[in-house]
Symmetry: C2
Subunit: 207 residues, 2 copies
């Protein structure tokens, strides 16, 4: 299995976490998505329909894009170390949480979207704070050590990289103490730590 | 089951389609999401974490938000009239397609996002055309009568309301003949037709 990934991409980070959590070996292929020539090369256009990361290439050559679709695939294909509970209503609540991040936060604060506004920095900060307000309110109600009680779920896979985005984009994260408490707990999980940008082969030696 | 819905909301439309396609009876509760007082009322904040539609309220009182999470729940809970194939790789490709719309197009062209730019009309048109270019290229390669060959899938559930968004926001839809051909085929499906805005109880009698 091959993962086309960029170290700082929060969507790639989600997939790396799931791969680690399920002990799936994979080859890391770094794509510098900030480089327009590489992003829009004929070669990469053949791999990614959207010229974005992550893309998971399966042993049969199939290429799957969109982190949510990849995470769902991995969960179904490799049911050991599950990231969803069996109860369908609880599973739906976790997916609901993931989608608040996946469709309600990350796309809006994506740099290539923000660049199309006259105020990219404020834009990214705004949509992070907007989303974290919702997540904080929700986590106060439902969280334990992790997002949904004391078991690690897909919600944690999506939360952890987004907190990093919040800091990167200057969101005032101190407003969200429950988010930060859970995030601190997630940092201690080996599979989550191995997935962070600093541990990727394309992480710049000197930033 | 209760669906909190707004007639023109494309995300509500997706869920209405799945409910119809699976012959699930539900009570329609209209929420005028354009009215800030209703949207942010204490009453609606108790129902929707994000103050948005759609929300599916289950018979046990659980409330599920985010259309993708709701559609996945309905597919798993009511496996008759499936919207995904059994093969996990094909299923992943369909989810990949759905997410290009769900996280890559609709959130960007949502009016409450566009209003935060100085050029909301151009913004909505741009992100629709941006996304449809990707979808058209993909559909040329994989479509039959519907998005994925000749069987109706979740991809069709997501495509059909988005085409309506494209027209509403002034996208030049003639650039996307394969999208339009499939959309014409989908209009003929009874369950899709019943889900359209004009057939909802909150559709304004005179626009």
């Amino acid at each position: 299995m091959k993962l086309y990934s960029y170290y700082i991409s929060s969507c790639s980070w989600r997939v790396r976490t799931v791969l680690n959590y399920k002990n799936i070996k994979y080859e890391y292929i770094a794509i510098d998505i900030r480089n327009e020539k590489i992003k829009h090369s004929d070669e990469y256009t053949k791999i990614s329909k959207t010229n974005r990361v992550p893309i998971l290439e399966l042993p049969n050559g199939d290429k799957i894009g969109e982190s949510m679709a990849i995470c769902e695939y991995l969960e179904e294909k490799y049911p050991d170390n599950p990231l969803y509970p069996k109860n369908l209503e609880d599973k739906a609540k976790i997916r609901n949480f993931c989608e608040i991040i996946n469709s309600g936060m990350q796309p809006l604060q994506n740099i290539f979207v923000a660049k199309r506004t006259p105020y990219p920095k404020e834009w990214c900060k705004y949509w992070n704070e907007f989303g974290f307000k919702i997540l904080e309110r929700e986590l106060v109600a439902i969280s334990g050590k992790y997002c949904f009680g004391n078991e690690i779920t897909m919600a944690d896979v999506f939360l952890h990289p987004q907190v990093n985005n919040g800091y990167r984009f200057g969101a005032d994260m101190e407003q969200f103490p429950t988010v930060l408490k859970i995030n601190d707990n997630l940092k201690l999980i080996k599979e989550f730590d191995l997935a962070k940008p600093e541990n990727q082969p394309d992480y710049p030696k000197k930033l």
